[in-house]
């Protein structure tokens, strides 16, 4: 009797053990609270400077060798485009987009450039089950489309609605998004194409920590000009690209309700229970089994003997 019991217990534990090996324990906990690489690069975007010329869109198109746009880049009618009640967003053919927002208090509209914000702790990265994404020490969030399975979880996870998908590709549909011009420029220490092309220097390229100081200095130096908030300093754990604005950020279409902590923090509670279930459940349920069947046959393989119990 005891022999069978022990063997069964071992069998059950082994099943649990194999499951443990698959558990996402190591990396989940190692994720800790990562605040970005110390010398990571970033971009400060000053919305007060943008005039909506769309030169950055053209520069991005050229640098990333994207397909021909539907309309010329000096066609400003795109600002009136509305899809499903929404302004334009990044697509698989346009990694950056400039939108126009009408403000409540002033006649002058506000223009906002949208692209990947290159989060310190990116939700896309942590949601990817093939680990396609990478946050480089230079600060870019890049991805390896050769391993992309196409689950599109990163699109669900991105709090800024950035990654897009080449839905119309038959054989090789993949995720597409801004990579901070990593391959062609950032790797060599050069600013991305959009930053360099901007006539108004809406964007300033530099080390994130230096730029953060400058952002606060600009707010301080120009009393009354800016809203006293750097969008992206704290949002979702901090972003590589961050914004200062003369108008409240919600009027410029920003999601001002985003958590201050990285998206992955929401998931950590759940990930923490995984190893618990994996280690405790086998013993617990085997124990239940032994208790529940105490004194009875430990029956299986001989379940015909239980046929008559059906009555109840």
């Amino acid at each position: 009797m005891s022999k069978i019991t022990r063997r069964k217990f071992l069998a059950a534990s082994a099943a649990g053990g194999t499951a443990i090996m698959m558990a996402p324990t190591k990396k989940a906990f190692a994720a800790g609270s990562f605040e970005g690489f110390p010398d990571g690069m970033g971009v400060l975007v000053d919305l007060t400077r943008c005039v909506g010329c769309r030169t950055c869109e053209a520069a991005c198109n050229k640098e990333q060798q994207l397909p021909e746009p539907a309309k010329p880049f000096d066609d400003y009618s795109v600002f009136d485009e509305i899809h499903h009640g929404q302004k334009r967003r990044t697509t698989d053919k346009a990694y950056t987009i400039v939108n126009r927002y009408e403000l409540k208090d002033t006649e002058e509209p506000l223009y906002r450039k949208i692209q990947c914000n290159h989060c310190n702790e990116p939700a896309c990265l942590t949601s990817c089950f093939v680990n396609a994404y990478k946050k480089t020490p230079e600060g870019a969030v890049i991805y390896d489309s050769h391993v992309c399975v196409g689950c599109r979880n990163c699109m669900i996870a991105c709090p800024f609605h950035i990654p897009a998908y080449t839905y119309h590709s038959v054989l090789n549909p993949v995720i597409k998004k801004c990579i901070f011009c990593y391959d062609t420029r950032l790797k060599e220490g050069k600013p991305p194409a959009c930053v360099e092309s901007c006539p108004q220097q809406v964007m300033t390229f530099g080390k994130r920590k230096d730029l953060m100081k400058i952002a606060h200095e600009r707010i301080k130096k120009n009393p009354g000009k800016y809203v006293d908030h750097v969008y992206g300093e704290k949002e979702v754990g901090g972003t590589g690209w961050f914004y200062i604005s003369n108008a409240p950020f919600e009027e410029a279409g920003f999601d001002v309700h985003l958590p201050k902590k990285p998206i992955i923090d929401n998931v950590k509670d759940f990930l923490a229970i995984v190893p618990v279930v994996l280690t405790v459940w086998p013993a617990l349920f085997t124990g239940f089994h032994l208790l529940a069947t105490k004194g009875k046959s430990h029956g299986h393989g001989d379940d015909h003997s239980h046929d008559e119990q059906g009555g109840h």
Binding site: D74, H84, Q86, F205, G206, D210, I214
Partner: protein, 173 residues
């Protein structure tokens, strides 16, 4: 048009040189025209009618901060400078680098100029100054109001003869 490039280059050199010489010699001496070519790839160089802008503005300091000896318009500059003294550097490009802002020159462009950090580069200095003011006084603000696009520019913007062909289906969203 044939020799346009050559003309531009020489013209530019002469003009800028004379501009620098002119302003550094006499206080109220200034160039009537300045040719600006920092975007000369996508756009033709712009001939800036300096004389007209001198007439149109009340004070040189509206554009030249505190360097022209005619006062100072910006409160931030006024903390250190009274603007009564004419500086050696008056032309935009003397302070605003034509090089793009880089992580290295982000903070202090020159030693000792610790409050001159966060300077826009030359291209941005022009645009921020010009467009900012034009918006206020209803001056021209469209790109091609000041610049004529080159062929390279049309290619870059996919406009003009490089405009996308009318396609039946739009790109979706």
């Amino acid at each position: 048009m044939v020799n346009a490039g050559k003309h531009l280059m020489t013209g530019l050199g002469v003009l800028l040189l004379s501009a620098i010489l002119a302003v550094s010699c006499y206080a109220m001496d200034y160039p009537d025209e300045v040719e600006i070519d920092s975007l000369a790839n996508l756009y033709e160089a712009v001939v800036f009618d300096h004389a007209m802008h001198v007439d149109a503005t009340e004070n040189c300091s509206e554009c030249h901060h505190h360097t022209t000896g005619s006062g100072v318009a910006n409160d931030y500059c006024a903390k250190c400078h009274d603007g009564k003294e004419e500086m050696d550097s008056v032309a935009c490009q003397d302070c605003h680098s034509a090089d793009p802002v880089s992580p290295e020159n982000l903070h202090n462009p020159k030693p000792g100029y610790s409050y001159h950090n966060d300077q826009p580069n030359l291209k941005a200095a022009y645009h921020l100054n010009c467009v900012g003011c034009h918006q206020e006084v209803d001056g021209p603000t469209g790109c091609e109001d000041c610049h004529a696009k080159t062929e390279a520019g049309e290619k870059f913007y996919h406009s003009g003869e490089f405009a996308p062909k009318e396609s039946a289906h739009s790109s979706g969203h």
